[in-house]
Amino acid sequence: MIEVENLRVTFTGRHRVEAVRGVSFTIGEGECVAIVGESGSGKSVTARSLVGLAGPHAHVEAGTFTVDGRDVRGFAARDWRRLRGRFAGLILQDALVSLDPLRTVGAEIGEVLQTHGIGDRRDRPQRIQRLLTDVHVPEPERRVRQYPHQLSGGLRQRALIASAIAGGPRLLIADEPTTALDATVQAQILTLLAERRATGETLLLISHDLAVVSKLADRVLVMKDGRIVESGDTRTILVGAAHPYTKELVEAASGRRRGTTAEPGGVVAEATALRKVYGDRTVVRDFDLTIRRGEIVGLVGESGSGKTTVAQLLFGLTEPTSGRVRFEGADFSGVPERARRPIRRRLQLIAQDPLSAFDPRWTVRRIVGEALPRGGNPEPVLERVGLGADVLDRYPRQLSGGQRQRVAVARAIAPRPSLIICDEPVSALDVSVQAQVLDLLAQIREDDGTALLFISHDLGVIRDLADRVLVMHDGRVVEQGPVKAVFDHAGHEYTRALLDAVPTLEVSR
C-alpha cells in the first residue's frame, strides 16, 4: 500500500532543519503500523509526508515513494488533494483545535463529503449522522449542530475521527490521537481505532508512548533524530529491544516504582472538611488531607473531578466556602494574604505547562534567580536538576519541554520549600522525558525531605511515584490509601475503571 525508501524531509526556512534523514518502510493493506519516538524525532513529519502535508517550507525527496501503487514524487497539488480524505484520513491530537472551533461538527464532516462529491445535497445530513453513529457518538441528530467546544473531549475526538473516515479512506493516519485525553477516554478511543481496523482500514499510529500503541500495532518503527533506529513486530520490540533508545522507551512505558524507605516526618499541611461552591455547583466537598514531611501524595481524577480546585484551595489562591487549610502549623485559609505571604516561599507550585508559567521575556538566570535570596547564584540549583550553565541565558522558548520542566523544578526547590504542589507536571511531556522528571522529583524528596502533592489524571505516573493516593470523582474523594493497596484492591468502581484504562505493556519478560 505504501512503500517508502530513503525518505528525506528538509525544512528550508530561516533555519535549515533536516527533520527526516533517510527513512525506509512499507505499510501493507490491513496492517497496523506504529511510529514511536519523542517530539522532534520526525515521526509526525514522516506521517504527514504520506499525504503531501509535510509543511509549507518542506523539501521532500525519496528513492522510492509510492502510495496506493502510484509514484507520488512528481505529484502536483491536485493529485495530492485527490488522495487526501479519499484514500487517507488524518486524525490529529486535540479535536478542540483540530476541528475548526467556529464551525459545527456537522459542517466539518460534511465538508469531506462535499469536497469529494460523495452523496448529494439531500442525503448528506443522513450520511453525517450515520458516520457519527459509526464512531459511537450518542444522539447524532443533536451533535451535528453542536460546536467542538460544546462536546466532551471524548466525543470531540470521535467527531474528528468521523470526519477523517467520511471519505471512506483505506488508510487512517492517527497522529497522537489520544495524547490530550484522560486515561479512560483514551482507552475508549483506542478501542474505536481497533474497531476501524477490524472493518478493514489500514492504520498508521504516531505516538510518543509505546504503551498506547502496543495493544494495537502489528509492527513498530522507533524513530529518533529523523532516523528509524529500530523496527520489527511489536512483540519483538517489547521483549528484545536492541537499541538503547528503544529500551528506554520500553522501560518508560512499563513504569518503575520510585519509592522511599524513609518514614514520613511531622505534618506539613492539613486540610479539613474543605468545600468549594461556585454558583449552584459544588466542585469540592468533604475534602480532608494531611501531608507529612518527605511524603509524596498522589491526587488522581479526570478533568472536572475537582482536583485543580483542591490545588488552588491548598495554595491559597481561592478561599474555601467552608473548611480550613493549615500550613506549617499556621492557618492558611480564612486569613488575609498579608498573613500568608511570609510562609508562601515554603509552598511552591510546578505547573503543567512551564511555557505559560514563565515570563517569556525572562532568561533562565532571572527565572530561577527570582526564587533565590537576593544575589543568590542559580547555578548550583540548576546543577541539582541536571542542567548546565549553558541554559542560564536562554529564554523559555529556546528550551526543550524536558529542560523547561527542569527549570520549573529548579525554581520550585530554590527557596527550600516544605511542600511542592505539582499540577500535572509531566502530562505535556514525552514518556521518556517523563521518566527523567519523575526520577528528579523522587531524588529531591529523598535529599531534601520535601513533601509533594502530585496531581495527575494519569494513574500510571502516580503508581510510579506516590506513597499514598487519593482518587477524586465529582468533587469528592472516593478512595484513598497506600498506592499498593489501592492499585491491588481497588474498592470503588471508578478507581477500577481508571486502573483498567492505564495503558500498560503486557509482556512477560
Binding site: R48, R84, G85, A88, L90, L99, P101, E111, T115, H149
Partner: protein, 304 residues
C-alpha cells in the same frame, strides 16, 4: 438575553449623556459670549442684547440651562442654532445624508478592499508589495491623499467632479480617500490573522480532507482572521467621524463636517452639541454592532 440588551441600552445612554455633558462644559469654558454669537454681524445695541437674553433664557443659572438642555434633548428637541436661527434638527437633518453616504461608501470600500488584498496577496513579492503600499497609505495624512487623487483624476483627466455632491461620481474620490487608510490597516490585521489561522491544527485537518488552499483560506481561516479585525470597528468609527470633517473640506462637499466647522468657529453651541451627541451615538451603534459580530463569528462566546 433581555438583561443583556437592557444593559447595552443603558450604557449607550450613559455614553451619550457623558458626551453631551463634556461638550457642554467645554463650550461653556470656551472664550466668547453667547449673545455675541447670536448677534453675529447684526445690529448691536443694549436693547437688542437684553431682548436676546430674554428670548433665549440666558439669564438663568448655568446649571438650570444645562438641565433644561438635557431634558429637551431627551425629548428630541436639540434647540435652535444661534447662527442660522433655525431648529438644529433641521440643520443636521439636511446635512446628514451626504455625510452618511460618504461614511458608508468609505467603510464599504475600505473593508472590501482590505478583504481582497488580504486574501489575494498571500505569497512572495505580491505580498511584500501590497504590504508596503498599505503601510505607506496608512502613514500618509488623508487630506494629502485627497489632494493627490483630486489633482490626478479631476484636474488632469477630468474623470470626476472637482467639488460638490453631484450624484455618485462626486462620491468616488472622497470615499476612496477616506477608505484607503481603513483598507490599509484592516488588510494588515487580516493578513496577520490569516497567517496565524493557517498555522493552526484545524487548517491541517482541513487540508487533509482534500480541500483546495483557497477553500481552506475562505471557509476556515478567514472567519478566524475576522475576529481581530472586528475589534478595530471602534477605531473605524473614530476614523470615519474625524475623517469626514477633513474630507468634506478638501472636496468641498456639503455635510456635517462643514456644518461643524462653521458652528465651532462661530460659537454656535446648540449645533456643536448636536454633532457631538450624534457622533457619540454613531460610536455606540458601531460598537454594539461589533459586539454582535463577535457572537456571530465565534460560537464559543455565545455561552454566557
Amino acid at each position: 438575553m433581555i438583561t443583556a440588551i437592557a444593559r447595552r441600552v443603558a450604557s449607550g445612554a450613559i455614553v451619550l449623556w457623558a458626551a453631551a455633558t463634556a461638550a457642554y462644559l467645554a463650550l461653556l469654558a470656551a472664550p466668547g459670549d453667547i449673545v455675541d454669537a447670536i448677534i453675529g454681524d447684526g445690529a448691536d445695541t443694549p436693547q437688542i442684547r437684553s431682548q436676546i437674553i430674554a428670548e433665549w433664557n440666558l439669564d438663568r443659572p448655568a446649571i438650570v440651562q444645562y438641565l433644561d438642555y438635557l431634558l429637551r434633548a431627551a425629548q428630541g428637541d436639540l434647540g435652535r442654532s444661534y447662527l442660522l436661527q433655525r431648529p438644529v434638527r433641521d440643520v443636521i437633518g439636511e446635512q446628514i445624508l451626504p455625510t452618511l453616504k460618504l461614511a458608508v461608501a468609505a467603510a464599504v470600500f475600505g473593508v472590501v478592499l482590505a478583504l481582497i488584498l488580504a486574501v489575494t496577496t498571500r505569497h512572495r513579492w505580491v505580498r511584500r508589495v501590497s504590504s508596503t503600499a498599505e503601510l505607506i497609505i496608512v502613514s500618509t495624512p488623508p487630506f494629502l491623499i485627497g489632494i493627490v487623487l483630486l489633482s490626478v483624476f479631476s484636474f488632469r483627466f477630468g474623470l470626476f467632479p472637482v467639488s460638490g455632491d453631484r450624484g455618485w461620481a462626486g462620491l468616488v474620490l472622497p470615499a476612496i480617500t477616506l477608505g484607503l487608510p481603513i483598507a490599509g490597516v484592516l488588510a494588515q490585521v487580516l493578513r496577520d490573522g490569516l497567517d496565524r489561522a493557517l498555522d493552526e491544527p484545524f487548517a491541517v485537518t482541513a487540508r487533509a480532507r482534500g480541500l483546495r488552499e483557497r477553500a481552506v483560506l475562505v471557509r476556515h481561516a478567514l472567519r478566524h482572521a475576522l475576529m481581530p479585525a472586528v475589534t478595530l470597528l471602534g477605531w473605524l468609527s473614530g476614523v470615519l467621524i474625524g475623517g469626514v470633517v477633513i474630507i468634506e473640506q478638501v472636496f468641498g462637499r456639503p455635510g456635517l463636517g462643514q456644518v461643524t466647522l462653521q458652528a465651532v468657529g462661530n460659537g454656535d453651541m446648540p449645533v456643536v452639541l448636536a454633532v457631538v451627541v450624534f457622533a457619540a451615538a454613531a460610536f455606540v451603534l458601531i460598537n454594539t454592532a461589533a459586539d454582535l459580530a463577535y457572537l456571530l463569528i465565534d460560537p464559543r462566546l455565545r455561552r454566557s
